[in-house]
């Protein structure tokens, strides 16, 4: 599904990613953990195609195709989805209109016509129920005045609507109380299948109790320095990151 080879990326000439190698296969859940400033969100943004970052070395392959030169929307059309750590507030664009536009533009890119209104409504109803989202919420301006939990549920709602092949959840657990966390995790688990993959980026092990990863990677100073199974997350939770730093420096 996703293969990242020796990826180096920088912003305003400051190197952030310094040689990432990662392979994610269909059906897998990968967790990327690491302390603040290690490059986790940068990795997510670079995969999603944020233009401020410059890839200086290496490449990103999605289903065998190099996506380095593709615009963010083209990556989305190929099935990349990024759940934002800080979803952007957009006054004047309703949640419904936003998601309709996103779906129809993605269909257009694939040479399909607009989704029939009836199907769209049905899908919106199903997916909003999955995320326990109130209907009234859907006519509000996108993320404007939403609580932290509402913003994250809205992100996963969009993921549910867009049915991506590769979903990257950037700190989706931050700002969530335990009920919201459960709803979000439940949503993600329901969307998981053998044909798609999920990358969970998180500080804490908490979310991984609900979305159980097949692999855990530790990102430190722009590199993946350790990989393991889900037990690695527990170890990090108990011991912090210092022992890994020592291991790396040794």
């Amino acid at each position: 599904m996703l293969k990242i080879n020796n990826l180096h990326a920088s912003i305003e000439d400051k190197a952030i990613l310094k040689g990432i190698n990662l392979e994610v296969k269909a059906g897998e859940v990968h967790a990327i953990m690491g302390p603040n400033g290690s490059g986790k969100s940068t990795l997510a943004s670079v995969i999603a195609g944020k233009e401020e970052y410059e890839v200086t070395e290496g490449n990103i392959l999605l289903e065998g195709d190099d996506i380095d030169e593709l615009a963010a929307e083209e990556r989305a059309h190929k099935g990349v989805f990024l759940s934002f750590q800080y979803p952007i507030e957009i006054p004047g664009v309703s949640v419904t209109n936003f998601i309709k536009t996103a779906i129809n533009e993605t269909r257009k890119a694939k040479g399909l016509g607009d989704m029939p209104a009836k199907d769209m409504l049905k899908m919106i109803r199903e997916k909003s129920e999955l995320l326990e989202i109130d209907r009234k919420f859907l006519s509000r301006s996108l993320n404007q005045g939403f609580s932290g939990g509402e913003k994250k549920r809205n992100e996963i709602f969009q993921m549910a609507m867009l049915e991506p092949k590769l979903a990257i959840l950037d700190e989706t657990d931050s700002g969530l109380d335990i009920d919201a966390l459960r709803i979000v995790a439940n949503g993600v688990n329901k969307l998981k299948s053998k044909d798609n993959a999920v990358i969970v980026i998180t500080h804490y092990q908490r979310l991984l109790d609900y979305i159980v990863p097949d692999f855990v990677h530790v990102l430190l100073d722009g590199k993946i320095v350790k990989s393991g199974g889900k037990e690695l997350a527990h170890e990090l939770e108990a011991k912090g990151y210092d022992w890994i730093k020592e291991e790396v420096n040794a």
């Binding site: 999603a48 195609g49 944020k50 233009e51 615009a71 963010a72 929307e73 990556r75 989305a76 059309h77 990349v80 989805f81 990024l82 934002f84 979803p87 952007i88 957009i90 006054p91 004047g92 664009v93 309703s94 419904t96 209109n97 936003f98 998601i99 309709k100 536009t101 996103a102 779906i103 129809n104 533009e105 993605t106 890119a109 301006s141 969009q158 867009l162």
Partner: protein, 437 residues
């Protein structure tokens, strides 16, 4: 011969041919003198500092275009809000086009200025209202001197006019270039309600200059909803002079949607002669290329307990230029005035520019007056958010631009107008997406 000389020298001949009330003759003769003295405005005048008429005055305009009614409804249907039942007062090259119009005298007058200016039964109204609030500057005086045709609307007391009234001025450009001087008079009496849609549209690429004057009288508790749709070809220019006189407890709202045209200057003035009056003026301007749109507004608060609301949004691409000059005068007597003014702008390109200037002259001490103007760019993080969901760059930009301006549409009471404006915006931004209201 300059355009000014041409106009002044043709006035006498013109005046001999028209058969208007003698009082109107006097007004027109006075007006041509004012125009002769003042001429067209220049950038030396404070109010015209950022708008130069030089490029549009250089054409050799035909001042009295030939009569041509050879236009069928199907050719111009798209310029009508045709999905509503409406009265229609339609002109082609300044002449009334009866085959495209639907006027009435049944309980209200929705008809022609030429009739009002000549027929004895309208003389009282003309004497009471004609040229009473139009400014006596060069441009309005020029229009007054040549005023002959336009819409005449008189709504008697206690009448809610259900059907909106559409006023459309077409120009065919059958001659090389035309200058038009449409003149509208609208009198809305006590407790009455009227909705009006105005549009100027050229049908060819020959230059057109329209210098329009509209006088509106909203008497006690009257409600006037006025919509100006400015989406003309980029060879057509418009100077719109609209003056509104309001009596107590009346409500007047003017929405101005400016997307087309080469140069547009909107002079929009409200005079509040009574208490508890509400004046609202809103606008969306979205232009590109070398287009220029100038909104010059005035609200004159004369008596206590009145409100005014101004909200203009502007989006400027390419080398387009915008001007917003919003003047609010609060007289000493006008205590408890609430006056709000907002002008927010987005510059899409490095070459686009906007000059925005609020002007508050407040002589009363117990008032609430606020004003704010902003100039910004599209939010790049919002762009990435939209694009990461599969919305391409152009569509994402359009969506953000529409979102930026769409609260102006909240106060549009006719859904068909909302839909039409939305479509014009999508078209202007080159996208095919529904913005959903």
């Amino acid at each position: 011969m300059s355009l000014k000389e041409k106009l002044v020298s043709s006035f006498m001949a013109f005046e001999d041919t028209v058969d208007v009330h003698s009082s109107v003759h006097d007004i027109r003769t006075e007006a041509i003198k004012t125009f002769e003295a003042e001429g067209f405005p220049s950038k030396r005048q404070e109010d015209w500092k950022y708008t130069s008429l030089n490029s549009i005055l250089k054409h050799d305009y035909s001042v009295f275009p030939k009569h041509d009614n050879d236009i069928e409804f199907k050719d111009v249907k798209k310029y009508f809000i045709h999905d509503i039942d409406a009265y229609k007062i339609i002109f082609i090259d300044g002449k009334y086009a009866s085959h495209l119009s639907q006027t009435t005298h049944d309980g209200l007058d929705v008809c022609l200025m030429s009739a009002a200016l000549t027929k004895p039964k309208y003389k009282v109204i003309i004497d009471n209202y004609f040229n009473k609030i139009a400014k006596k500057d060069g441009l309005s005086s020029l229009n007054t001197a040549f005023s002959m045709e336009g819409a005449y609307i008189n709504i008697p007391k206690n009448k809610v006019v259900e059907k909106p009234i559409q006023i459309i001025h077409f120009s065919t450009g059958n001659e090389a270039a035309v200058m038009l001087q449409p003149r509208n008079l609208i009198v809305v009496n006590e407790n009455s309600h009227v909705q009006i849609i105005e549009r100027h549209q050229s049908l060819t690429d020959n230059p057109v200059l329209t210098n329009s004057v509209t006088e509106i009288f909203a008497n006690k508790r009257a409600i006037v909803d006025y919509y100006k749709i400015q989406n003309d070809r980029q060879t057509a220019s418009l100077i719109d002079n609209t003056f509104i006189n309001q009596k107590q407890e009346s409500l007047a709202k003017v929405h101005t949607f400016s997307f087309g045209g080469k140069l547009i200057r909107n002079n929009l003035e409200f005079y509040q002669n009574g208490e508890r009056i509400d004046s609202t003026m809103k606008g969306i301007t979205i232009i590109g290329d070398k287009q220029h749109v100038d909104h010059n507004t005035l609200v004159h608060h004369i008596e206590p307990n009145c409100e005014s609301h101004q909200d203009y949004k502007g989006i400027f691409d390419d080398s387009s230029t915008g001007v917003f000059n919003g003047k609010v005068v609060v007289e000493k007597l006008a205590q408890k005035t609430n006056a709000f003014q907002a002008n927010n702008n987005i510059l899409i390109s490095d070459k686009a520019s906007i000059n925005t200037k609020p002007q508050l002259e407040i002589f009363a001490d117990d008032v609430k007056c606020s004003h704010g103007c902003t100039i910004g760019q599209l939010d790049e993080s919002a762009m990435f958010y939209l694009r990461s969901r599969g919305i391409p760059e152009k569509e994402a930009r359009a969506l953000l631009m529409f979102a930026f301006s769409n609260n102006v549409l909240d106060s549009v009471k006719i859904p068909e107008i909302k839909n039409r404006i939305t479509k014009i915006i999508a078209n202007k931004l080159g996208v095919n997406i529904g913005f959903d209201l």
